[in-house]
Amino acid sequence: MSDIQKVKVTIDGISVEVPVGTNIVDAARVIGGDIVPPTMCYYSKLEGSGGKCRSCLVEVSKGSEKDPRPMPKLVASCRTAVMDGMEVKSITSDRVRDAREGVTEFLLINHPMDCPVCDQAGECKLQDLSYEHGDVGTRTEFVRRTFEPEDIGPYIQLHMNRCIMCYRCVFAAQQLCDVREHGIMNRGERSQISTYIEQALDNEMVGNVIDVCPVGALTDKTFRFKNRVWFTKPVDAHRECDTCCGEVRLWMRGEEVYRVTARRDEYWEVFEASNGKTGWICNTCRFHKKKVSDWVIEGPAKINRHSVITQGHYVGAHNPQENLINEVIGKSPKLLFDIHSQSDVNRPEIELSHISGPAHSDNFLPNKKIDQERVLDVGRKK
């Protein structure tokens, strides 16, 4: 690796050496942790993506060793290449935090906020963004934007109201499929993802648009309303497949496979498969192989993320900071419903990552009785 020229970049006071041409987000991901700018539209595996959502804005306080002038505007870190000696401020800059709060607000003013019925809830990037960078409450009083529902085929559910126009699915479909089937219609506020005109998406690789969608705009129709993400347990599995790498993640509850997705890392990007290519999966693997017998199980997936699905139950996850009490001054918040009292999986005392093989309801049986008492307890306290 010595022949690749490396440059030194400092992000929030942490220095790292990365190859020439790396953008700031990827350099930050090498460091990891809280300084990594949130990315709603950037997807390193998709060429041309990024620069649109503006949630990854950072402040460049020193341009480079040669030209130490700071950049006057905040820059989109996903489309700005690092220079030698560059100094970047991410979460340590007030301007950046304010701009991200603004972007979050902009993304949410027309979002339907239907998380309780959204299949993406729990692994939604917009939830993460608003949790980390959003303000409490909303300042908009206007009717939210809605679109006519559109049917784009038997496998993919398009829910345009939730879309944040990240263009990821457009790039994914263009780069993975032979025929260009869908794109952006209209302009400005009324721009929307659509097929020309209201055709179905039926390419063999097009299911990957579900995986790249950061919100619940494109979801799996075969998983629709079947289960909540945090009730299912991710298990890595593979099978022989002619069209794709066949390496997937099954989302199981008991012995039932609820959903099949590609394997994704902590930034929700698809991993490289063992054949060296990006591990996109085909529609057959995704939508038709929903029996455990179709797959060779490799073991539980280690998910290293901070989203709702992983709260306290997976490796290296952070617990949310409880700030509700500070917000509702003088009122003590009431616990209405403890999710762990209802869920078979994700019990705090069960470390899912330590269970080998798919999770059976047997694994949770000893706690069944306690569950019911807990429910009663919660009820009485009220």
Binding site: L74, V103, I109, N110, R187, E189
Partner: protein
């Protein structure tokens, strides 16, 4: 002083014969005997600043173009003049097409572009015909096509019609549109000078900048730079409109004052119907609006002149910008809230929808302004509006976000009491206007 419009009054100047008989194409013949570097040097010396709005020196822009071996370069002329209040390019193209084509030939020769494009806005439906006719005439006379004047330089000019999108006036969106794609601005870098049209080095210039190249070559960069003051050299076309007696396109040499421009009979001829001046947007709808007292005199008390430096004196706090020269005058009967609302509606409608602050923020600003205008506003809405524009400005991919935020910011900055009056007197605001209040400069009250 007239350079660009000097021959505009001659009857039938549109035709090649009349243009040639009046000294046309002399600059092309002079330029093609020079080397390309000499032309770039002349333009640099002239101090010509881009007339499209940003005011970036044209010669500097030309010298930035990358020159890799074996890769063609392109000149694209931005004739997508969609800024509300600006109509100077239309006048140039419609009445002096040969002056414009002369400029394109010289600029293309200087930049080494063998295929140049004119991107013209779709609403100018009749102008492409005028330009195409002029291009055909120039080709027949040997000024276009293969081996121009025996120099071995080839040039084809294509006229590309837009489809009526303001955003396609942004240079990278314009390039995307010529390529046949959706008119979304590209993320910079790479800049068009390195990777522009068809991923080749490209220079995008405004019509007026290109047309000004012809007189620069004719009279020499040195002489051109002596016109005007300071860094505002040469002449500028101003398209004046609004509540004035003589709206139209005027060529000024940037040494006159704003007061003279508005009240002199040679230019706007004063405020229409003997009303008083309330406010003015001196450079097209995107630049900040100024109340009369700040428009005619800078914060330091000096008279404000019609040039780049003087108009932007005081920054956005007490100044504005030259912009593209769309001079919109508002008299005492105009409502600033309604005016700002209609601008906000324009930017909401023209946002491409690519990046979130602009897509969501422009519509939000419009709805807040609509509430205030129609008597449903609250005091906190004004602060909210300020906050929204602050978070759009500078955080978007292209300058449309800034252009949408600046008019709103300036309106609140200078006319906050009018916004507050709309909130406190919702019913009265429906039937009468706020009027002049303290914005007027007493000195400017002229008898009709």
């Amino acid at each position: 002083m007239k350079l660009l419009l000097a021959k505009a009054h001659i009857p039938n100047i549109r035709s090649y014969e009349v243009w040639k008989a009046n000294g046309g194409y002399a600059s092309v013949e002079k330029a093609l005997k020079m080397t390309t570097d000499e032309i770039v040097e002349e333009v640099k010396k002239s101090g010509l600043r881009g007339r499209g709005g940003a005011g970036f020196p044209t010669g500097m822009k030309w010298s930035f173009i990358a020159k890799p071996e074996g890769v063609p370069r392109h000149l694209v002329v931005n004739a997508d003049e969609s800024e509300p209040g600006t109509f100077k390019d239309r006048y140039l193209m419609e009445f002096l097409p040969h002056l414009f084509i002369e400029g394109i030939i010289i600029s293309s020769y200087a930049l080494g572009s063998n295929t140049s494009y004119i991107y013209i806005r779709g609403e100018y439906a009749w102008i492409p015909d005028i330009l195409n006719a002029a291009i055909a005439e120039a080709k027949a006379a040997g000024y276009l096509g293969k081996n121009i004047l025996g120099t071995g330089f080839d040039l084809e000019i294509h006229v590309h019609r837009g489809a009526g999108a303001y955003i396609c006036g942004e240079e990278t969106a314009l390039i995307e549109s010529i390529e046949g794609k959706r008119g979304n601005p590209r993320i910079k870098p790479p800049f068009p000078a390195v990777q522009g049209l068809w991923m080749r080095p490209t220079v995008v210039n405004n019509v007026e900048s290109i047309a000004a190249v012809s007189p620069i070559i004719e009279m020499g960069g040195e002489a051109y730079s002596k016109i005007g003051v300071g860094k505002s050299t040469g002449t500028k076309l101003i398209s004046a409109c609004g509540n004035i007696n003589k709206p139209g396109v005027y060529e000024i040499d940037m040494t006159i004052s704003v007061e003279e421009f508005i009240y002199s009979d040679a230019y706007c001829g004063g405020i229409a119907n003997g009303k008083r001046l309330k406010a003015c947007i001196p450079g097209g709808s995107s630049v900040p609006i100024l109340p009369a007292n700040l428009l005619l005199k800078t914060a330091k008390g000096e008279p404000r002149m019609m040039n780049y430096e003087s108009l932007s004196d005081g920054g956005f706090q007490t100044g504005t910008m030259m912009g593209s020269g769309g001079f919109i005058v508002l008299d005492e009967d105009q409502c600033i809230v309604r005016h700002t609302m209609s601008l906000a509606h324009f930017y909401m409608h023209e946002s491409c929808g690519q990046c979130s602050p602009c897509r969501e923020g422009t519509g939000w600003m419009y709805r807040i302004l609509k509430n205030i205008e129609y008597g449903k506003g609250k005091m906190k809405d004004i602060d909210l509006l300020w906050d929204v524009q602050r978070r759009i400005e500078g955080n978007t991919i292209c300058p449309l976000g800034d252009a949408a935020a600046w008019p709103v910011a300036a309106a609140i900055r200078h006319f906050r009491d009018e916004f507050e009056w709309h909130v406190t007197h919702p019913e009265e605001a429906q039937v009468r206007n706020f009027g002049l209040a303290h914005y007027a400069d007493e000195r400017t009250v002229v008898a009709p």
